[in-house]
């Protein structure tokens, strides 16, 4: 956000302005964080009407609890936490299936050895494959088949390019559990693709 002098307001400034009565500043917070919130809501809630209500509920909650924001994380992460929890409550109310909480220890051991996100994501070899016209549609279908939590975590990590720690903070899960869920989600995607499509289609 830029003010009349062209300066960018930080999260701190925006929060402070809202708490001092400048309601319009909250509109700016909303605009700054809407994209991440939309990703979470869309991945966790399939019904369009529910999404509409939940999205508004998330920001009303954020507004009411803004005084409790302690600047221990980015404001977008804090609002994403509210979004995730609100969606999770919605799923629980609707009794939709959530992934099991148990962790596979063998998987954990292997995942612990994984290096953190590389600075540049090497994709040169994948470009030609990915440009296959149908891949996006196939992948969309595969992602839609994942449980909502897996869908959300994999989107936050691979699409939003958040770190394990940020995803962990948003989901309120230990980093090891996030890694485990991501591993399983990727594996499910690969299995789905390999079972349902010939290699040439990918």
């Amino acid at each position: 956000m830029k003010d009349s002098s062209g300066n960018t307001f930080s999260d701190n400034d925006l929060v402070s302005r809202v708490l001092h009565g400048e309601t319009n500043a909250f509109s700016q917070i909303l605009k700054n964080t809407e994209a991440l919130t939309a990703q979470i809501v869309f991945k966790m809630v399939s019904n369009a009407e529910d999404r509409r209500d939940i999205a508004q509920d998330i920001y009303l909650k954020a507004f009411k609890n803004l005084a409790g924001f302690r600047f221990e994380s980015k404001l977008s992460t804090w609002i994403a936490q509210i979004a995730y929890r609100t969606c999770l409550n919605h799923l629980e109310k609707k009794r939709l299936v959530l992934p099991a909480t148990g962790e596979n220890e063998n998987t954990e051991e292997i995942l612990d050895k994984l290096s953190p996100r590389p600075a540049s994501f090497a994709l040169a070899g994948a470009e030609s494959v990915v440009h296959t016209k149908n891949l996006k549609a196939i992948l969309d279908k595969a992602i839609d088949n994942l449980p909502p939590v897996y869908r959300t975590l994999i989107t936050l990590f691979h699409h939003e390019e958040l770190s394990y720690e940020e995803v962990s903070s948003i989901a309120g899960l230990p980093v090891g559990t996030v890694k485990s869920y991501l591993f399983r989600a990727r594996k499910l995607l690969r299995d789905f693709l390999e079972k349902n499509y010939k290699k040439e289609e990918l």
Binding site: T23, R51, A126, R190, L193
Partner: protein, 156 residues
């Protein structure tokens, strides 16, 4: 080829080929099955990364801000109305008492003995204690509600 590498290793290879040890890397490069799987992972990662971002099909900002304005208007008069009603109540009770204070004093003085005879002291104390306790709880609750609303009001 046998002893194919684990899925976690394949995922790591697809994600960051340089992050693997040479044994696993060379196996993947030479094993068509593992290489195919790694390529599938790579396609998945890239496919997710290049998916169009989700966005709401309505003006979220407008919807939220109008709700906040609505709440502001509602909570804007409520604490003051409560406060005014409280003050008005006190005035309604206190004004006649003040105006007719002499008559009231005489009335109490004259009938005090009869009243005391009719109602035992214990009952009076019990009633007074009950009234006082209820008043205290109600006053505290009113104060908390008022403070909460004022706090929210200050955000606008």
């Amino acid at each position: 080829m046998h002893n194919h590498v684990a899925d976690a290793v394949l995922q790591q290879y697809a994600f960051d080929p340089g992050g693997l040890n040479e044994v696993d890397s060379s196996h993947i490069r030479e094993c068509s099955l593992c290489l195919n799987r790694a390529e599938t992972y790579r396609s998945i990662f890239h496919g997710i990364r290049t998916q169009p971002a989700a966005s709401f099909d309505f003006d979220l900002s407008k919807a939220v801000m109008s709700k906040l304005s609505g709440e502001s208007e509602k909570s804007g008069w409520s604490p003051w109305a409560t406060f005014l009603a409280f003050v008005a109540g006190i005035l309604v009770l206190a004004t006649p008492s003040y105006i007719y204070r002499k008559s009231l004093y005489l009335f109490i003085k004259v009938h005090a003995t009869d009243m005391a005879g009719a109602i035992s002291t214990t009952v009076i104390y019990l009633v007074l204690t009950g009234v006082l306790a209820i008043s205290l709880f109600q006053g505290y609750d009113l104060l908390r509600k008022y403070q909460r609303k004022i706090k929210r009001l200050n955000y606008y």
